[in-house]
Each structure stands twice: as C-alpha cells, then as structure tokens.
C-alpha cells in the first residue's frame, strides 16, 4: 500500500517527562485520519514531528519517502512545500493583512509567478474559503472562525499533498465548527489531500475522518472507524465518546 506517512516506535521526551512512548502509525494516501486523546497527551507533538518542527528522540518517521529523523535542509524544504499545517490558533501573522498573510509564502517559495499571478492565486484561494471581502483586513479584525478559514486558505495556497489540522474546531461555536468540517471535506475532494486531524471534538471526527485513533499514555490505545470505536465495549473508550458528546 502507498503510505505517505510511516511512523514506527516514535519516542519523545520533554524535561524528564516522556510524552510519546512508542507510536506506530501508517497513513495511506488520501485518507483522513483523526487523532484523539486528552489534552496534553502529545497529539500536537506528534504532528509537529511530522513536519520537522520538533525532533523526536528515537524511532522512525518517514514522510513522503523522506526520513524526518535528521532531515537535510533540502528534504525539509521539500516536505514543507508538500505539507500544510493548520494551527490551533490559526497563527496568522498579526503584523500583516490577510492578503499579505496569504502571499507571504508564495513570494518566498518556489512558486514561480508574477505579482499578478500571486494576487490572482490569493483571491482564488480566499474565494474557496468564502473570505474575499476580508482580503485587506488585519487578523485582529477577524473572528475566530474567519481566522481559521484564513489559516486554512494560507495552507491551501501552496497546494499541499498532506494537511495537518491542529484542533480545527476548538473554541468555535457549533455552526462555525460545522462550516470548518465541511471545508475539510471540500478540500479533500477538490485537492486530493491526505489529512491528519487532531481533535477531541467527536462531531468533527464523525464528519471528517475515515479512521480514528486514540492516544493514551504515550501509546496508541486503540484505532478504528468512528462507528467501530463508538460501539466499543471498553468503558474508557465509551466514556471518551459520551463525555465528548455531552
């Protein structure tokens, strides 16, 4: 099978505290994988290891055929062009307008195009997230949902093969969460991307994921489809679902 991400026995320690104790994960192309777990369990650490924002202590991590344990600068550049990362707090550059936020990467990446080509591409992507009107606004003027969408647009603008979502619906009202979920599905449909969605919002998992896994105590506790896990007999797993659905 064609895996875009392969992780074996991944370990990561912070200041004497072992966060990841041996994660094994295989992600096939064009799959939406939801990663669940309690807060602070190391989900974000896991996806940050995937793009080289963090260095794992030991194990094996392979993204799009590149070894990410000690990546060369060239590999890192390649990976970062292919992987989009939607941050929990959107992480928009707050000193720049929405337009500048989106064109920032394009101007500096290998995207070859004139100024007008860049401007066109920015508008095109903003249209796809329905925010053309906000093009000259500053991030501080945007609502949480709008920020998320701009963040997603900023990721989409470089047409990534993999998108990593870090808690895409956290802190949003249900209606906006719904919009974001639909957008994640839209993106997969139109761009044929593979996604890893970190969340503890079960609605999000249900709507967007093909498969989900739950991390507990630094290890993958269980994995399966949403339906499979929801009907699990394990009291801890079902408590997880019930709690989240409340």
């Amino acid at each position: 099978m064609d895996y875009v991400i392969e992780i074996e026995n991944l370990k990561k320690t912070f200041e004497d505290k072992e966060i990841l104790k041996g994660i094994n994960l295989h992600l096939p192309r064009e799959e939406n994988l939801a990663v669940c777990g309690k807060s602070g369990i190391g989900k974000t650490v896991l996806i940050k290891c995937m793009v080289g924002l963090m260095q794992p202590d030991s194990g094996k991590i392979n993204v799009l055929g590149k070894d990410m344990m000690n990546p060369s600068l060239k590999d890192l550049e390649f990976i970062r062009r292919k992987i989009g990362f939607v941050f929990q707090g959107s992480a928009l550059y707050d000193s720049m307008s929405v337009r500048e936020n989106l064109s920032f990467t394009l101007k500096r990446s290998t995207f070859s195009g004139s100024k007008t080509a860049i401007a066109e591409r920015v508008e095109e992507v903003l249209e796809s997230v329905g925010l053309v009107d906000a093009i000259d606004k500053m991030p501080a003027e945007l609502s949480g949902g709008m920020k998320k969408r701009v963040g997603l647009a900023r990721t989409l603008i470089k047409s990534p093969e993999i998108i990593l979502y870090d808690e895409p619906t956290t802190g949003l009202d249900p209606a906006t969460s719904m919009e974001i979920n639909e957008m994640i599905l839209d993106v997969r449909k139109s761009n044929k991307v593979t996604s890893v969605i970190i969340t503890h919002d079960m609605n999000c998992v249900r709507m967007t994921s093909d498969r989900m896994l739950i991390i507990h105590d630094g290890l993958i506790y269980t994995e399966g489809t949403f339906e499979q896990l929801k009907s699990s007999d394990d009291p801890w797993i079902s408590s997880f679902f019930n709690k989240k659905e409340e």
């Binding site: 970062r80 992987i83 550059y93 500096r108």
Partner: protein, 265 residues
C-alpha cells in the same frame, strides 16, 4: 533523563543559576551562529529590513533626541561649577563634548535602545512564538531566522550607530544652550572648542562600539523572543529578560571597548 539533567546531576555542586547562565550563553552563541549563517543565505528580506530600520531608527529618534538634549544640557550645567573652581571654564565645551561623544552618548543611547527595542523584539517575537506564528512561518517554508531575526539585528546594528550620532549632535546642541544660559559664546567658537579636543581616536572607537551595541541589542532581543516560553507569561518574561540582558551586554561591550581602544591607540 536528557543531557541537561544529566549535566546538572553530575555537577550538582554548581549553583543552578550558574548552569542556567552557561546554557543561556551557549544558546545565545548558537543563535548568533545561526544569524550569521542566515545572513548570507538568500533571500534577503529587504522590505522587512527597511521596515525594521524605520521602527528602530526613525521611530526612536524622538525619544533619543529628547534624552540627548537633556543629557547635554544637564552635563554642561553640572560640570560648570567644578570647572570654574579650577578656572577652566573655557574647557567646558571640550570636556562635555569628549564625554558625550566617547562615552555618555553611546551608552545612554544604547541603554534606551535596549529598553525600547530589545523589549519590543522580545515581546513581538515572543508572542509570535507563543501563537505559533514562528512555527507557521517555518512550516510554510520561510526561514523565520532569515525573515524575523536577520532583518531586525541588521536594522539595530546599522541604526543604533546613527541614533548615537543623532544623540551626540543633539546633546552638543543642548550643551551649547547650557553654556549660553550663563555666559555668551558664539556657535562658531563653541563648535571650534568642541572639535578642538575631539580626535579620531575618540570619535572612531565610539562609533565602532555602537555598532556592537546595536548588534547585541538586536540579537539578544530576538533571542529572548525567539525562544520565549509558552503562555503570556513567557512573552512578558522574554521582553523583560531581553532588556536586562541587553543592558548588561552594553556595559560589557563598553568595558571591552575601552581597553581595546587603549591598546589600538
């Protein structure tokens, strides 16, 4: 257990603060190394550099100018009685100009810049770190050191010397005013007196050391912000420690500069 903990455990007789200091100095040195590596790696973010220069230079001019003016005025007024006691009132412009150009101007300007600019860098980069903007930049394939740090450090390195020159000039203007409060001296004679005692051996080292002041203010501010801890506390701490460390660095450089100047001249 990671390596730092192992080190702490092995050398547990070393005070915690000393180990922290070593870590800090080591990290700062590595960060400086990264700065120089990125400095020569394209692309050069010229627009951002200009913007930072604007922030550091033009935007700080008012503050620097005001302090410089007051400094020149007060120094002259305070030196005057002492010089009169020695019957050397004619030396007033010369003495004040030498102390302003060689020491007071550079150091005071650098300290104000440490307060204004290093704290700003610490706060801005710290909050960018905390809100994952630096991560976002890195993931998007733009080197944050190149974009955020190189531009800022270059801006301070080049703008602080200019600010010092402004401060010197304005302080001398203040001094001229102070001299004229009591006596009456023509601007021509004042300028003559000032430049009569100033030599290249005073002027050039003073300018050169301000380049280092600017560099250290920039690099420390950026370092503290770049490696800010998470949370709003991390941002505050980054801004605060940036000011403290940068001010300290200014004095350390001054200490070295004075000796180096003596060796060279």
């Amino acid at each position: 257990m990671n390596e730092v903990s192992k080190f702490r455990h092995t050398y547990n007789w070393l005070p915690e603060s000393v180990v922290d200091l070593f870590i800090e100095v080591g990290e700062l040195t590595r960060f400086t190394g990264r700065f120089f590596k990125e400095l020569f790696r394209p692309p050069f973010e010229f627009n951002e550099f200009l913007y930072q220069s604007y922030i550091v230079g033009a935007k700080s001019l008012g503050l620097i100018g005001l302090t410089g003016f007051i400094l020149g005025l007060v120094m002259t007024l305070q030196s005057r009685p002492v010089l009169i006691e020695f019957g050397a009132e004619a030396w007033l412009p010369g003495m004040v100009s030498v102390s302003i150009v060689t020491e007071i101007g550079p150091v005071i300007t650098a300290l104000i810049c440490a307060g204004k600019i290093a704290s700003q860098f610490g706060a801005v980069l710290g909050s960018m770190r905390v809100t994952e903007q630096i991560d976002a930049m890195e993931v998007s394939g733009v080197n944050p050191i190149n974009y955020l740090v190189v531009t800022r450090v270059l801006a301070t390195t080049l703008m602080v010397p200019l600010l010092v020159l402004y401060a010197d000039a304005i302080a001398l203007a203040g001094s001229y005013m102070a001299v004229n409060i009591h006596g009456n001296i023509s601007a021509t004679l004042f300028i003559f007196d000032v430049f009569d005692v100033l030599h290249f051996s005073d002027f050039l080292p003073a300018v050169v050391k301000t380049v280092f002041f600017g560099f250290m203010i920039g690099i420390i501010g950026c370092y503290k912000g770049y490696f800010a801890g998470y949370g709003t506390e991390g941002v505050g701490k980054a801004a605060n420690t940036a000011v403290v460390s940068a001010s300290l660095a200014v004095f350390l450089i001054d200490l070295i500069a004075v000796q180096v100047t003596h060796i060279i001249y």
